[in-house]
């Protein structure tokens, strides 16, 4: 199999697909792309399956050298990108030749970007997914010098599709949410505050959880440890709001006051520390 050489890994670059969907019973986190909307678009541009493995790049991207001809597409956060030192754009398929070098430069907008390659990255499948996770996959992120297997393609016909990206929606600061199981335990004043106040992302965020700076003083009790999923927003006794993300544990003991919608998780994944979001209440239809 031909390979992609990781010349420089970037700040935090992982292999992700749509995650592990049937192993929560063993306490295994779901994992998978933080922003599924952008990752799916990147795969769509190359006619890949939606769950083909992509690279998730965070804040500073990698330098990659391709050992064979293939096609790539990048969606999500907008970086300066150079293919053999010629600038290329987001949300468009590009042909890559054997020996080509893809380099990511400055971050223009958003926080996480997705690099899809034709057929998907072929790293090891563990528990039905290629998504990196410590102690599940042998690596938990890319490091300099890694080599990633990809499909070999004899006759690559460049896909002409270009997805018209709903950038404005992905990068807007409103996060659609539903009421969580313990929402009604909040006093009315806090219920209202949740949808009026702007919440600022702290630097402590990662693939497991995003924390917000503003505190919601409360005296609601903890719950008997119960199920949580990506997008569950917990409120701690100290008043911290914690939005669980894709690598979160499968259970938790803090009241679950909100549940972020799938698109809301994608939008939150594109926010940098210091940026603000506004929760917007949605109803189930």
């Amino acid at each position: 199999m031909p390979k992609v050489e990781v010349k420089k890994a970037g700040l935090y670059t992982t292999i992700q697909d749509l995650g592990r969907l049937n192993v929560a019973q063993y306490g295994v986190p779901q994992s998978g792309v933080m922003d599924s909307f952008s990752a799916k678009k990147a795969n769509l541009l190359l006619n890949n399956e939606a769950d083909a493995a992509v690279l998730e790049l965070t804040m500073a991207g990698p330098i990659l050298k391709f050992q064979s001809k293939t096609q790539i597409a990048v969606c999500g956060a907008i970086f300066d990108m150079y293919l053999d030192e010629k600038p290329i754009t987001n949300a468009k398929a590009f042909q890559v030749n054997s020996g080509s070098v893809l380099r990511f430069g400055g971050l223009k907008k958003g926080f996480r970007s997705y690099l899809a390659v034709q057929g998907g990255f072929k790293t090891a499948v563990v528990l039905e997914s290629r998504s990196h996770y410590p102690k599940i996959t042998s690596a938990s992120r890319l490091v300099n010098g890694d080599e990633l297997e990809i499909d070999s393609l004899e006759n690559t016909v460049i896909a002409s599709a270009r997805v018209n990206f709903e950038d404005q929606e992905l990068f807007s600061n409103t996060i659609p949410v539903f009421k969580g199981p313990e929402f009604e335990l909040l006093p009315q004043k806090l219920q209202q505050e949740l949808f009026i106040e702007n919440f600022t992302l702290t630097p402590a965020g990662n693939r497991m959880a995003i924390l917000f700076k503003e505190l919601l003083k409360n005296n609601i009790k903890g719950i008997i440890t119960g199920p949580v999923i990506p997008g569950t927003v917990q409120l701690t006794p100290n008043g911290n709001l914690i939005a669980l993300m894709r690598d979160c544990q499968v259970t938790g003991g803090y009241p679950r006051i909100l549940q972020i919608s799938e698109m809301g998780i994608c939008k939150l994944a594109q926010k940098k520390p210091g940026e603000q979001v506004l929760f917007q209440l949605s109803e189930f239809y």
Binding site: P181, G226, P227, Q249, Q259, E262, F284
Partner: protein, 242 residues
């Protein structure tokens, strides 16, 4: 006991069923009985169902239409016909070496709870623990049924790392670290048996609702079991009379 759960959507792709009852083995078996029946007879789509102490969470990997249909079917489902005896777990016996080499906090536990080391071992190996569910770390067992006399608060300063297999106590819970990990629990021993292996079809030998009992082994026996595991010759089997 409350029979009809509260049934709510959790995001677009999950349904949460919650009961208002205590942590108890018979309540767990009742949840697991319901889980079996839902999977067999009520739910039409491919769905993952996990349980905790008082909840079932159904997570879908399909269209929202199916969730809507299942949600309505659940809302009108009659839960009264289900018995907690419809679910039976298995009993497993797990070796633990309580040697001071592994039992880093045996002294502290002995001092604070006025117990001798042999009393600690006796109290820890006596109960048949109930495996409620797994969480926190892959393969970490939430076990119920620990003796009140072993209850102790977490370490003031968590350790940056404990050994794979470390057996710990925190508050009224006991558990085993399936991999080396930072740890705040008081460590009293080590279990040589592999509790989680992502590279096997069944990554963990146990399921929610199973029962676990510990038995004390010497350092020599511990080393022997470790060698058997390494050679692939150790087989963990459930007890026949469970």
């Amino acid at each position: 006991m409350q029979i009809k759960p509260s049934i709510n959507r959790l995001g677009e792709k999950a349904i949460l069923l919650q009961w208002d009852f205590n942590i108890a083995p018979e309540n767990l078996n009742w949840l697991l009985s319901i889980k079996q029946i839902l999977q067999k007879h009520v739910i039409e789509s491919k769905v993952q169902i996990i349980n905790t102490y008082n909840s079932l969470l159904m997570t879908y990997n399909c269209s929202i239409e199916n969730i809507y249909n299942d949600f309505n079917a659940l809302k009108s489902y009659d839960f009264t016909g289900i018995s907690y005896e419809d679910f039976k777990g298995k009993l497993y016996k797990l070796p633990v070496c309580y040697d001071v080499e592994f039992g880093l906090d045996l002294d502290e536990l002995a001092r604070r709870n006025s117990l001798t080391a042999s009393e600690i071992i006796h109290l820890h190996t006596q109960p048949v623990y109930t495996l409620y569910f797994m969480g926190f770390l892959p393969g970490f067992l939430y076990l119920g049924g620990m003796k009140e006399r072993l209850k102790i608060s977490r370490k003031k300063e968590p350790r940056t790392s404990v050994l794979k297999g470390a057996v710990g106590i925190a508050e009224n819970q006991t558990g085993i670290y399936p991999n080396s990990s930072p740890a705040g629990w008081q460590i009293i021993g080590n279990c040589p048996v592999e509790l989680f292996n992502a590279h096997t079809e069944n990554p963990c030998p146990f399921k929610a609702g199973d029962q676990i009992q510990f038995y004390s082994v010497s350092k020599q026996e511990y080393d022997k079991i470790k060698q058997q595991i390494k050679a692939g010759k150790y087989i963990l089997k459930p007890e026949s009379h469970a």
